[in-house]
């Protein structure tokens, strides 16, 4: 049969239906806000009531230095420990003010930069787009500065250069590339400073320091590396500030703004909404103005307020899509009340325009009415300016100011609520369609695996079970293996019975083993009768005697196999237990120290190096048994060596003194070398498969089994290939995880699945459970902050979005993919020995697996999308539910690839069987 059968078409249709519906759901779920096009200009600003004054209040500063320090937590500046003595001293002298800004999650750099410059709240999709930042077309602060004729320069994270490609006259971008490097990135920024500060041809200089964020990712906020880094930043601030002191106060008053784009969680990552990640300090420093006196404590602002505040300070129109409010406390002390009110009026007018765009009937809106009322009192105040006394004028002016602030804040809230409005219609269609997917009845499967899968699906209903999903999988995998261990005597009893019934006999040695291992006593008696009878016969019959001897040895080997299987199950349980503590993940016990944390500490570098070396060796040894050809083994060995060198190159591990010379910086060359060896491994493997295929075609009939064993060897080779790739991509301390994975797989394949025959569908569920467990063992979680970005840049020297995306996907789902490959192999393993039509059986097995896979994916997706729809206004929607949704989507893509593979294999087997 050349064309796929009807049923196969149905399967393919199901898959696309599922994918399409899920994509539709995601598209509807992650809202796109209604923005205003174009750029604000001075002519757009509303007239001042009564006086009819046009334009903006005069600017307070001519020159601006915006210094963004990536991952600057609030407590690094205002905390108890004095990390930045110079800055603190300036603040005490009232040369500046501090605000605590609340960043909106997702706390990732790109959305945060967009927030600071546009004043809008980017959606969740921007997290995904973070890795492929494109030109910012929305109205923003940088464009406004450029329109105002300022000269801009930039040094630091090149995300800015991608966002604002034509804005800067001079720039030098550094890539957030090697997370392990936290000195060079910052030196690349600081080295421009002395020259730039001496020059007077620029008006706005933006600096973006990445080092602190890298330290956070590497070692967390309590690391000893933090203090020297913050002191370095303090020195930079001092350098800039002293240069600013020499500027003329009347001609070019300058402002220095220091802020973090996002904070740092207590584990060092970011992306979520914990206080450490969300709260960032904003420090305004200027030698030319006196700031308003700050009352006790630090004023709380939103990070988006920074954009309109800076616009007001620099005398610019506020960007059109801004949702922030001007922070009046940031204006210099000598600002007249009239100017303050005017600034607020402009801000409120701009917000009102946004509201008009987003709300159908704005004039009915409460917030809008407040704005109108404030405008009214503003004109009354200005009209009565001459008549009333100075003090009453002052107080009524303050009331106008407050009215404006209130109106602005309410309008901002109203709009941000509007922009997270959901496309309910689209969502409901998608959810119904997901539920309606083809649900072919499942063949009877082992209870626990199915129950476990269903229980996991049900657990998704609870947000804390979603946060702690790893616990569910760890629990399920441990339980599966315990159950296997507990039921082992049972499954072996079946074998004993089979071996006994074959010759109709059971020997005494065999008996004893059965006794200890829990054979049925009743059966024992029956067998004993048979046995004594046969013994009588065998005295006279030499054939029977021989047969009995054969059975005896068989019994002994069964005994041994039983012991080995039991021991390997215990070892598997131990490995799973060790891996649990390898990378703590989730939320509740995230800060419990784990093995990984200990290993990445700088003082344990020696231990880490030794561990990596031993793990790679262990990996090599286990892979040797997977690879049959000499070439493959050699390639694997070379790959392992290259992997070690590349890890040494990134500075994660040590290298023997004499060899340090051959390691290039950043380990890119080594990583590429490792890649080439791994690819050689793959090619050799494919070649072998091809050769097997050709030979099996030559002698078609007898070699069905031969061909299948060839396929099995190919899959083992593929496993070895994938393990090598994992060694290369995963973090250094996770190479031990790969080694343990390799050993575990050997045990599962060599002993467990040989003695406990699971049906293919159960095999798939088993592999999926292990794959999920390993996904979390690697340190992944259902939060965005745990994605290993550094893995994406392996062996790359410049920014290549596609390659980075593929590598990140591979490293994140490495465990899942490995177990799916293994699943394909295990199906060949459980092939019944008496099956006359191997191909048909296997084809059916693969089809069954594909259906099961679709079902096990459809079920949680349907449940989860339904749940998320109901929970769309829940507090955790951005931190728990949405990231999980993205992970589920990605997992579905990975599984879909496997689904297609299964169907292809089934199809080819079927057509082969019919030849």
């Amino acid at each position: 049969m050349k064309f796929p059968t009807k049923a196969e078409w149905v399967f393919v249709f199901c898959l696309f239906n599922a994918l399409f519906n899920f994509a539709l759901f995601l598209r509807c779920y992650f809202p796109l806000k209604q923005g205003l096009d174009g750029h604000a200009s001075v002519h757009d600003t509303p007239l001042e009531p009564v006086t009819g004054r046009e334009g903006l209040p005069a600017s307070h500063y001519r020159r601006l230095v915006l210094m963004v320090i990536d991952a600057l937590r609030a407590d690094f500046v205002v905390g108890d420990i004095n990390f930045m003595p110079y800055t603190k001293q300036l603040l005490q002298e009232r040369r500046g003010v501090v605000f605590l800004a609340r960043a909106h999650p997702p706390t990732v750099t790109l959305p945060r930069i967009k927030s600071i410059t546009t004043g809008s709240i980017p959606g969740f999709v921007d997290v995904v787009m973070n890795f492929g930042s494109t030109v910012l077309t929305e109205d923003n602060l940088m464009t406004q500065l450029k329109q105002a004729g300022k000269t801009l320069t930039f040094f630091g994270d090149d995300t800015w250069l991608n966002l604002f490609p034509d804005h800067f006259t001079r720039s030098d971008g550094t890539t957030s590339f090697f997370v392990t490097d936290y000195t060079e990135v910052d030196n690349n920024v600081t080295r421009h400073l002395s020259q730039e500060l001496a020059a007077s041809d620029w008006d706005v200089m933006t600096l973006h320091y990445l080092g602190l964020d890298h330290i956070g990712h590497l070692a967390g906020p309590t690391s000893p590396l933090i203090k020297p880094k913050l002191q370095e930043m303090d020195t930079v601030i001092q350098q800039i500030y002293s240069a600013m002191q020499s500027w003329s106060a009347s001609e070019s008053p300058g402002l220095l703004v220091i802020c973090g784009d996002h904070g740092m969680s207590d584990q060092g990552g970011h992306g979520g909404a914990s206080p450490g990640e969300v709260l960032v300090p904003v420090v305004l420093l200027s030698p030319h103005t006196v700031f308003q006196h700050q009352k006790s404590g630090y004023p709380d602002i939103d990070q988006i307020d920074l954009c309109p505040t800076l616009s007001a300070l620099m005398g610019l129109p506020i960007p059109k899509n801004n949702l922030g409010c001007v922070e009046v406390a940031a204006l210099p002390q000598n600002t007249s009340l009239r100017d303050k009110v005017r600034a607020m009026q402009i801000n409120a007018a701009q917000l009102a325009r946004m509201l008009e765009k987003n709300v159908g009937d704005a004039s009915q809106d409460h917030a809008y009415q407040l704005y109108k009322a404030a405008l009214q009192s503003h004109s009354e105040w200005l009209a009565g300016a001459n008549s009333s006394s100075e003090s009453s004028k002052q107080s009524s002016g303050n009331q106008v100011l407050l009215a404006y602030q209130d109106a602005a804040q309410r309008m901002s809230q109203r709009i941000s609520k509007m922009s997270t409005r959901y496309d309910m219609y689209g969502i409901s269609v998608a959810v119904t369609a997901l539920w309606m997917r083809d649900t072919k009845p499942l063949s009877p499967v082992e209870m626990f695996l199915v129950c476990g899968t269903i229980l996991h699906t049900l657990s998704l209903v609870s947000s804390s079970f979603v946060e702690e999903e790893h616990q569910t999988w760890y629990f399920i995998t441990s339980s599966i293996h315990t159950l296997l261990l507990f039921r082992l005597p049972d499954s072996f009893a079946g074998k004993f019975a089979a071996s006994a019934s074959g010759g109709g006999t059971a020997t005494s040695g065999h008996m004893r083993s059965g006794d200890v291992l829990g054979r049925m006593s009743g059966e024992r008696e029956e067998n004993y009768v048979q046995y004594t009878q046969l013994k009588e016969h065998s005295k006279h019959n030499p054939w029977l005697k021989r047969e009995m001897e054969r059975k005896t040895t068989e019994g002994r080997s069964l005994d041994k196999a039983f012991l080995k299987t039991a021991v390997s199950l215990v070892v598997i349980l131990c490995i799973l237990r060790v891996l649990r503590r390898w990378n703590q993940t989730g939320n509740k016990w995230l800060d419990v120290p784990d093995v990984g944390d200990w290993l990445v500490m700088p003082e344990n570098k020696m231990a880490l190096s030794a561990l990596v070396a031993v793990s790679l060796l262990c990996n090599l040894l286990t892979n040797l048994s997977r690879l049959r050809t000499l070439g493959g083994r050699a390639a694997c060995a070379c790959a392992m060596m290259a992997v070690y060198c590349s890890k040494a190159g990134t500075g994660a591990t040590l290298m023997p003194e004499t060899l340090t010379g051959i390691v290039s910086t950043q380990g890119v060359t080594e990583a590429r070398l490792a890649y080439s060896f791994i690819l050689v491994l793959l090619v050799l493997n494919l070649h072998q498969l091809w050769k097997d295929n050709v030979s099996s075609h030559a002698s078609s009939q007898s070699s069905v089994r031969v061909a299948l064993s060839g396929l099995s060897e190919f899959l083992e080779g593929l496993q070895a290939f994938w393990l090598c790739l994992m060694c290369l991509l995963l973090r250094p301390h996770n190479t031990a995880l790969v080694a343990m994975l390799s050993v575990l797989e050997r045990l599962v394949c060599g002993y467990v699945l040989r003695s406990v025959k699971l049906r293919p569908v159960c095999l798939l569920l088993y592999c999926m459970a292990l794959g999920q467990a390993f996904f979390f063992f690697q340190g992944n979680s259902n939060s965005v902050s745990t994605v290993d970005v550094a893995a994406g840049y392996t062996a790359l020297q410049d920014y290549q979005p596609v390659l980075i995306g593929i590598q990140m996907c591979f490293s994140t789902y490495a465990g899942v993919i490995f177990w799916l490959i293994s699943c394909l192999k295990y199906v060949l393993l459980v092939l019944p020995s008496d099956a006359s039509v191997d191909h048909q059986w296997l084809a059916d097995a693969h089809t069954d697996m594909a259906i099961t896979l679709l079902l096990t994916r459809a079920l949680p997706l349907a449940v989860y999308t339904t749940l998320v729809t109901f929970m769309r206004y829940h507090l955790f929607v951005w931190t728990v539910f949405s990231p999980k949704l993205l992970y589920e989507g990605m997992l579905t893509v990975v599984y879909s690839a496997f689904y297609v593979t299964c169907l292809c294999v089934a199809h080819s087997l079927r057509s082969k069987g019919q030849q």
Partner: protein
Amino acid sequence: MAAFDTGKSTLKQKIRSTVALSLIWCTFFGGTVALSLVLKIPFDLISQPLISVKVLSAIVVVVHTVVSVLWSALQFHVRSAMKCAGLCATCCVIFHCFAVLFGAPAIEATAETFHFALLLTALAVVPACFVLGPDLGRWSTVFILGKPSLGPETAVFITGICTLVGAWLGAVPIPLDWDRPWQVWPVSCVLGSLFGYCVGLLLSAVYMPYKYRQLYKMKIT
């Protein structure tokens, strides 16, 4: 040591007395647990799990010994008693190991884990010791092949399995972020095994007459 084998009662009587004993014992034991949960007397199961586990285990062991002695003249053999004690100790260690393998703290909360193992031994293994004796063959027939004879063996089998399943299910609520005192290791698992034990007693009291009737009917027709 096998207590019930020496009894002269017929199968029907044996089942009747087992059911009666199970129900009485379940009421008493369940009542004690409920009392300690609700009124925190005579001990507070949630805030003082260690002492509570000790007391409860002691109660279970003593009651089973007394019942075994009273119901049928317990033939006491030092050798088999020693064997049973060894069996219990081994099981206790195995339970501890498995608790750790399932994710209990390996180093820190050793006392808690051990008390949990102790409770499991008292609830699931000690009663079985009185019924099955030290013969491992019978143990495997009952527990691994799941073919207990009707009577005390069935009761022991069902309560044992229910205890273990209860302990297993007791681990489920631990990751929830409710921050309740009973979510602390090993309280939820202790509660789960106690609950499972009581359910097991009830279940065996229901199951045995049902099974007997089924068998009886089959014999008649």
